[in-house]
Amino acid sequence: MSVMSKAVLTRAASGLSAGLRSREPGRREWLIIVPIVAVCALLPLVIQGRYEVGVMTLILIYAIAAYGLDLVLGHLGLVSVAHAALLTVGAYTLVILTTKYGVGYWWAALAGVGVTTLAGLLLAGITMRSRGHYFSVSSLAFAAVTVVVITQWTSLTNGASGIYAIPTPPGFDSTISLFYLSLIVLTAVLVAMFLLTRSTLGRNLRAIQADEVLAASLGINVVATKLKAFTVSAAIVGLAGPLFASWISYITPSSASIMEGFNLLVYVIIGGSATLAGPLVGVALVVGVTEAFRFTELYQTLIFSGIVFLVLLFFRGGVVGSVARAWSRVAVRRRGPEPAEVPEVAVGPGPVALPHLSPADRGGPAEPGKVLFEARSLTKKYGGVTAVSDVSLAAREGEIIGVIGPNGAGKSTLFGLISGVVGGWSGSASFAGRDLRRLAVHERARLGIGRTFQTNRLLNDETVLQNLVTAAYLHRPARGSRSADPDDGFLNTILDLTGLRAKANEVVSGLSIEEQKLVGVGMALAVRPRMLLLDEPFAGLRESETPRLMRLLEWLRDQGMVILLVEHKMRVLMSLCSHVYVLDSGQLIAEGSPDQIVNDPRVISAYLGTKNA
């Protein structure tokens, strides 16, 4: 085996090993597409016969649809049984246009993709707010209604009788040519899937899958991104529709059934969701095996069930995911750990200044003393409990404001109100002259409100750098720039400021608590906020780590940033904050300079403890 191919295999293995949640593939993992396509292209030379080639063509067509499904399943974590219905919509569009209206094949196929995309948008619109089982069952209902609509719209669809004598694409009327046409489309889909997982959309989808709240707080428009994913997903399925129609030559509403949608799901799960090769391998395995065991008649289904169970229990990332993981484990044992991926950020002393953080590019220079954020009479009730009651506060540029209070005093709820995660409150809040009331989380992030979370929310399966790149979503470079660092040097700066440069290519879940805290701060900075909400950033930090973060915050303050800091460590607050608010049971019981606060009797009795008072 040549050195080159070994390298390719190793890459391929790591590319396949993305287990259960999607992750960003390495730059060269697209190489796995080459052997896949090559093997497929050569198969008809080995396996001949109309039936065999026919089955292989069907596998390719289903695989295209399976990739479309996996975009929603693997990258958004939504279990849809409606994708067979989408496929059928595409097929029907082609069939109706060609057989009833005499439209040319290619135009009709294009329309098929278009109509499928629209149907996908409809599905997305209906299900957008549902999650988990609610989504699944909504998609189930969508599929069921699709079947009924096709069945009942007899004048257009010929009802349950279906439509037959469907044309094949001009120039591709033999079994073998349809096979290669499908392979070409599949190749395009594979490449598209690869590019997509490395694109901003892919990164944003992963962020949403990992944590919707985090994604929104990074400025990602969750709804719009989901819609985009559905659109692309449906468009890919739409490509499969016309091919399917031509292959089957007779179409009935039953192709849209829940059972068919369920089969598509099984293909993806068996093969390995969120892997580049998984869906294809899954379709090939399931369809291939069922066809091979047709002779067993009824037992075929039992064999199929058994295989699905075993894969679910033992091949936990699907066949591809598990085999690749095992392979990379063996590879690691044999050759020692794989060298970390080449850092994609040029190593060097980053600029010390942080020009990007200056509010200059956000509507005027910082004016220390100018009120940037102001809230009046914020009140939030949950059922009968008032979590935040009539709280007013203001923050000026170049200030660090402290918020203290016992656990459960309403600090996190207050942060939630300001960042937009918590809705349904009363009172007023404005930021840089804008009323926050009607703004969604991502809109506030775009306005310049960045935050960290008390319990750290990160993309745990990705590297530090990937976390930062995702967070810097709003500031991606102009189209065409190939750099993974969207803003030359900006992420470098953050890596330097947080001291994470050495760990840039390590997966976040493997870092220490301190380092994870710093990643959280780094991500909030990558949004380039004018106001930073930090929820207990010092908690869990060792004493030795504390000064570093303190210096960073001071420096950010000097750049004109507003920092709202929830913290229990009084010494930190005392030295950083110019103004401190004290909350207890949702109410503001005191405010003032740190000195005033520590000597306030109410604060001592409510928070600091009466013992020493």
Binding site: S509, G540, E543, K569, D584, S585, L608, G609, K611
Partner: protein, 241 residues
């Protein structure tokens, strides 16, 4: 009574606890201090059988209990009062308490007697017996949680952050109750962020940092330890200034 030796635990790829050892003697009250994320909750859950350990040994009254189900551990008299309380919000206080005695298959009348006994400790709950636990205030809920744990007749009661989210006055009440329970001969394992309050109550303590025990000693030793003062008692010092 409880002997934890050199245990390792974690989730997925990450290791939360590395080589933690501690012990609690019969009737003793011991605290585990540590910052958020230091591994305190993982430690206490591992002892209670809610999180599997990857290495080491946990013995209770001389017998190995790691690997046993949480239910069996409760039956042996090691009971956890968890962080976040984990009450059954749509069940009455009475039902919550009844469920506390679940692991002891005893007659209804015996349970009723036991409930009365527990309510003696928490007189405030007496009138709220039929109220849904979810509608109680935070302090009352914490009382129910401790009461529920007592229903299981513990010999060792583990408390995970009992003062979390409570007003200082209530913190004092809870701590007083915990002290009373200890005086009845029940050993206490207390995990607290409120180090000052905890050290008032216990005789010994451990400090957990990044998954390892970094300091251990008597309450007095800990209170006067510079590192502990800096990291966990800073608030008290500041207030005293």
């Amino acid at each position: 009574m409880l002997e934890v030796s050199d245990i390792t635990a974690g989730y997925g790829n990450s290791t939360v606890l590395t080589g933690v050892s501690l012990s609690i003697e019969r009737g003793e009250a011991v605290t585990v201090l540590g910052a958020n994320g230091a591994g305190k909750s993982t430690l206490i859950q591992a002892i209670a059988g809610l999180t599997p350990i990857r290495g080491g040994e946990i013995r209770f009254e001389g017998e190995r209990i790691h690997g046993l189900s949480a239910a069996r551990i409760v039956r042996r008299g090691l009971v956890l009062c968890p962080e976040g309380r984990h009450l059954f919000p749509q069940m009455s206080v009475r039902e919550n308490l009844m469920l506390g005695a679940y692991s002891h298959k005893i007659r209804r009348s015996a349970i009723a007697a036991q409930i009365d006994e527990v309510l003696e400790i928490f007189p405030a709950l007496k009138e709220k017996r039929t109220v849904y636990a979810g509608s109680l205030s935070g302090g009352e809920q914490q009382m129910v949680a401790i009461g529920r744990a007592l229903m299981a007749k513990p010999r060792l009661l583990l408390l995970d952050e009992p003062s979390l989210g409570l007003a200082p006055l209530l913190v004092q009440t809870v701590m007083r109750v915990v002290g009373e329970i200890n005086q009845r001969g029940i050993a206490i394992g207390l995990v607290e962020q409120n180090a000052a309050a905890a050290l008032e109550l216990v005789s010994r303590g451990y400090v957990l940092e990044a998954g390892s025990v970094v300091i251990q000693g008597s309450a007095q030793e800990l209170s006067s330890d510079d590192r502990v003062r800096a990291a966990y008692l800073g608030v008290v010092e500041q207030a005293a200034d």
